[in-house]
Symmetry: C2
Amino acid sequence: MHLPCTFIVHQQDRLARHSTFTTPHGPIEMPAFAPVGTLANVKTLEPRDLDEIGCQLILANTYHLYLRPGHRLIEQLGGLHQFMGWRGPILTDSGGFQVFSLAHQRKVDKDGVTFRSHIDGSLHRFTPELVMEIEQALGPDIAMVLDECAEPHDRHYLDAALERTHRWAERCKAAHTRADQALFAIVQGGVFPELRLESAAFLSELDFPGYAIGGLAVGETKAQMYATLDVTCPALPTDKPRYLMGVGAPEDIVHAVARGVDLFDCVLPTRLARNGALLTPAGRINMRSAQFAEDIRPVQEGCACYTCRTFSRAYLRHLYKAGEISALRLGTIHNVFFMSELMRQIRTAIANGRFDEFQAVFLDHYRISDQTARHEQRARYVSALRSRP
Amino acid sequence: MHLPCTFIVHQQDRLARHSTFTTPHGPIEMPAFAPVGTLANVKTLEPRDLDEIGCQLILANTYHLYLRPGHRLIEQLGGLHQFMGWRGPILTDSGGFQVFSLAHQRKVDKDGVTFRSHIDGSLHRFTPELVMEIEQALGPDIAMVLDECAEPHDRHYLDAALERTHRWAERCKAAHTRADQALFAIVQGGVFPELRLESAAFLSELDFPGYAIGGLAVGETKAQMYATLDVTCPALPTDKPRYLMGVGAPEDIVHAVARGVDLFDCVLPTRLARNGALLTPAGRINMRSAQFAEDIRPVQEGCACYTCRTFSRAYLRHLYKAGEISALRLGTIHNVFFMSELMRQIRTAIANGRFDEFQAVFLDHYRISDQTARHEQRARYVSALRSRP
């Protein structure tokens, strides 16, 4: 039988924590960043790439895998790890976020949410019990409860949504039986401190092995996001990991670690790479830019990723300009490595009691793209929320 | 200084030859197949993949690289090998085939060919001297002379085209000065034995270090292609490698090796993979097919490629159906490995004096897709020729 998950905080530097969360598929040193493999595949990468990059955890999307190829098929083929050939830890979200951002004609009620597939319009219904069935069939190391991710400023709606989210958390906990899988709760409450505190208190009482902070990076300002973390993190158990869902940008990660967050996931590094935007300590660079046409330097001087060890900016620019698939992959290798390396540096800084200094230096060098950048990634979500019936 | 290229035939089995062509970037054991890296990149693959697969030679397209990013830029960045990070042998075509198949408003005259770029419509002119300048700037191990690839059945036109091709071969030879680069001639003449013999005799007299057979797999029947090889190969020097350009399909390669061909290139394995058609000893399989939805077997039982060692058909089908980029790459890895392995088996069979037997068994098992399959790849070319002014 697999060992249960354990969480040990090695070092705390103000609120920032260096810790290890151990899963049946290995340890995750935190703070950690999980690249997203929506369809049981981190786009353009293979398991061996993730190993080489040093990824400790990947996220797969329950909503997408439920629709295609189906959780029963994946279960029959031996579960997600076997299916995708990845031996390290996997986390699946609950599908809640996707239902609210991607699916059509969704209707929430006390008991669950009914929606139409964004692929073929077919009708489906998620209840806490079905989502637990799906996630247990998929077999990740970490599963998430079904929650409702609502528009963060709509106080009236949030009251009702939070009530549903809490009932669903209880029902997920009751329905979850896999001892080799950790079920994390999700704190909601939009940008309202009193709702966040209520949610953190309620869910802490239920004693989950980990706590996510959901409903952020969905349209609120950065200041509101940081303020929400300032309120929420101290209200969560100190002996459980804290996971900020859907974040994100390097600067946001640094700010969130400073507030006590241990775990992150985001499509940002992989999606940016496919758009030709590559991450460096000085900020993003656009590899399609003419300024790189004759540039023999690697994307990032001193970077140890395969792309930087092997190719010049001039070559990468050529591949991007010519529309070669390899460009998307080589860019992804670099960006995911960049995030991995950022998290390594963060952990080292905390372990050495110098996170403040690291944060100051990093933020001083990292040029933040326009403030709308963070919103790009979930623009569809926000517009979907605004059209909520 | 680099060693000049050498060619040694180790073993001959009837007309099939096991040989080694040595280049400044290493030996090529022949019969060999070169995957195509049109834009200095074998689509979806990296140099380390080509190494792992055991590729001995890749082809890059002069026409494409001349247009984008430009041969002068590649030269300035250290040449093709340095630019694309590939340390093994490279062959460039002359661009002639692409000018005749891709470019717009081309006009051939005695001295060269004028055309408009298929990318931006800009006006260009290739002469034998300019093509030599481009290929010497790119710096492959093997360069090809500028030739005219004409419609294979048009006897009247072919007479004039062959005359041009021969003059251009002389001029290319005169203009070619890089001692570390082997310049290969190209035999033309369509499906007419007397023209092929004339071309082989004329070019043999000029004493090139290698001889290509061009103008095949462009719309003639398979029987015509094999008959042309039957005539042409024996008319070429025995101490020089023979290269059948743009071929191809596994069954064509086996038939051509039996007729004395040593070298091949084709986009087929890489293009097929991107279309979801994967190669096996029993023929192509369509990975999108529903029959593979629950198939836990690898693409090809016993195959040692990364894809087959790691993933099931069910997983690959899922990736193809979901439109994941990784599917294209994993399929390409398998198909290029399949070709590499086929060539290894061919060489072993010749070395053991059992090529006949290998050929019989291979062709007995390999189900050939419909006869139009070979034509697909150059359909655009043929239609372009038909619209020749």
